[in-house]
């Protein structure tokens, strides 16, 4: 799949990677192609690719001159750290404000939250990233700069690849706070869109459940409003919220492409951006594989959660 897509792109990796001068020299181009097997017919290229893949070899990146696998090993945890924080924040804030919005339906709080969430959903993430970087870093100097750590701070011993977790494991609190300070701004930027999305969907899910007969029945039993809300309403609204959270995570990952480039975050998104713009095909295919796998696991997790939440969805 990723192989077909990447080969359909109308671009020539040879000219993109050789530089201005060399690409005007037909001999150099031919040599480059032969070296990278690009002179072979596509089916043979594909067979070779699969063969290498089976051995865990994703090829060599033409930009970093390192195996793609090595690049990905470094990039995936960086993105995961960012994306996990962003989705957690989105869930916390989005679900809470969606519930508040629904409970205050058509009152001031609801109107404010609806306008805000609409604003967040429709704001382009890359634009927000640029503005945030300019305002909070350039102008106010509140946020830490680009990258995962300040220059001069060494990365903690690699255990999970998540700097915050690794720093805690190593007991390096200074490194931990430094990593957190670098995470916050890009994570918040990524959060904006998904928070808006989750607020809107949670609101409508909660409103839908509030009108259900089983909520009226729960009230008729004289249960305290808090119990009705937590046990009956939120439980009922959880399935649509989880569905949207899964989709939101996908949106969030695609948001990393530009956000990571702007914040010079050494993650998957920035790597995807660089390799796509330079037609670094092995790298693009590697990124595609990883992203595909992540989507697969997210969907799997969503399905498992359906079963946990809703007994009707359990396989008998």
């Amino acid at each position: 799949m990723t192989f077909v897509l990447t080969n359909l792109v109308p671009g020539d990796p040879a000219t993109a990677n050789l530089g201005e001068q060399a690409s005007s020299d037909p001999a150099a181009v031919a040599e480059y192609r032969r070296q990278h097997g690009l002179d072979q017919p596509l089916p043979i290229q594909y067979a070779r690719y699969l063969e290498d893949l089976a051995r865990g070899d994703l090829g060599q990146s033409q930009q970093s001159h390192q195996p793609v696998l090595t690049d990905l090993r470094a990039a995936v945890p960086a993105t995961m750290e960012l994306a996990a924080l962003a989705i957690l924040l989105s869930l916390l804030v989005g679900v809470a404000s969606g519930v508040v919005s629904a409970l205050h339906r058509n009152r001031l709080g609801d109107h404010v939250l609806r306008v805000l969430s609409l604003l967040f959903v429709s704001m382009p993430t890359f634009w927000l990233a640029l503005v945030a970087f300019y305002v909070f870093f350039d102008q106010l100097g509140w946020a830490a700069g680009s990258g995962r750590l300040d220059p001069g701070v060494t990365a903690p011993a690699n255990v999970t690849g998540l700097y915050t977790v690794d720093a805690v494991l190593a007991g390096q609190w200074f490194t931990f706070w430094n990593a957190v300070s670098h995470l916050i701004l890009p994570a918040l930027v990524l959060t904006a869109h998904t928070v808006g999305l989750l607020t809107r969907f949670t609101r409508s899910a909660v409103l839908e459940v509030l009108s259900q007969d089983y909520v009226r029945s729960a009230r008729a039993k004289g249960l305290p409003e808090r119990t009705v809300l937590v046990h009956y309403v939120l439980r009922g609204a959880l399935v649509p919220v989880i569905t949207v959270a899964g989709l939101a995570f996908g949106a969030l990952l695609s948001g990393t492409v530009l956000v990571e480039s702007i914040f010079a975050w050494p993650g998957l998104g920035g790597y995807a951006f660089r390799s796509a713009t330079t037609f670094d095909l092995p790298a693009v295919m590697g990124v595609g594989l990883v992203i595909g796998t992540i989507y697969l696991f997210v969907n799997l997790a969503v399905d498992v959660l359906y079963g946990v939440i809703d007994p009707r969805a359990r396989v008998q």
Partner: protein, 281 residues
């Protein structure tokens, strides 16, 4: 002759002068309309329930039967306004705060809703839904509550009640769910139960069983039931008193035998005539 019929009932006749447990006086309910003017769906409804008695409430669809029940429970749709008095054991429910009402609902007065398939939460076990209000109102532990819940399920003829507690609503038939809902309404041994079409959609034998159960509870515990139904057959089988609603007004009210055999109002007569295989005398 009609009075004689009434006295023939096998169960002991409650003292006529016994105080009403539920006394609805001049209940008027206005719902917010689309245009903001609002529509009045109940116009000065009067109803009285005696302890141990079953009061049948009949009337065509849209006449306001469910609204009457919801007004008693304080569960009218948002924006609705209720006037009049709903005296439960002498206390006016319409004047209670939300908090005070919470202590009454499900404990002193409870309601079985019209549609059994939607009134149980699909993602919570039967046991959860039968015990949460029990534990809240009676301040009893989980184990004791489950024991009582299993007991209740047995009484509404749910097979293997103990296992049923850990199952989910979708694993039961519509009729069983209806009986579970009845069990939930009875759990805290309330004094009044509003049963909104509790037997609609049940097959005849189960319907008879549910009616017998309700009758038995009235006799045993002195429970008073407001039985909403547009099935006059059910009414004649079980009710002590009958009221007929039309367009939000009580057009006829009195002892069952009198209302069903010698209706004073033309509307009641036409309802009776609409019954298959039956003619009004």
């Amino acid at each position: 002759m009609t009075e004689a019929n009434h006295a023939e009932r096998t169960r002991p006749q409650r003292a006529e002068d016994q105080r009403d447990i539920l006394d609805i006086v001049g209940l008027t309910v206005a719902l917010p309309g689309r245009t903001g003017t609002g529509t009045t769906v109940l116009h000065g409804v009067d109803l009285r329930l005696k302890p141990g008695g079953i009061h049948g409430l009949a009337g065509e669809s849209g006449s306001g039967k469910t609204m009457t029940g919801l007004a008693v429970m304080g569960l009218l749709p948002p924006g609705a306004r209720a006037r009049g008095r709903v005296l439960l054991d002498g206390e006016d429910l319409l004047s209670l705060s939300a908090h005070e009402l919470g202590a009454v609902r499900g404990r002193v007065v409870s309601m079985v809703f019209q549609d059994p398939s939607t009134c149980l939460h699909p993602m919570l076990t039967i046991g959860h839904q039968l015990t949460d209000h029990l534990r809240h109102h009676l301040k009893i532990g989980r184990k004791e509550a489950r024991g009582r819940a299993a007991d209740l399920l047995g009484r509404v003829r749910i097979p293997s009640p103990a296992e049923a507690l850990s199952r989910y609503p979708h694993e039961f038939s519509g009729g069983m769910r209806q009986r579970v809902a009845i069990a939930a309404a009875l759990a805290c041994e309330p004094k009044v139960v509003i049963a909104d079409e509790p037997t609609t959609g049940l097959d005849v034998t189960i319907q008879a069983g549910v009616l017998r159960l309700l009758r038995g509870l009235c006799d045993e515990l002195g429970l008073a039931i407001l039985l909403v139904t547009h099935d006059l057959g059910v009414m004649s089988a079980i009710a002590d008193e009958v009221s007929v609603l039309k367009h939000g007004r009580v057009v006829e009210s009195g002892p069952r035998a009198r209302v069903l055999t010698a209706p004073r109002h033309g509307y009641t007569r036409s309802l009776l005539e609409a019954l298959p295989g039956r003619t009004a005398t």
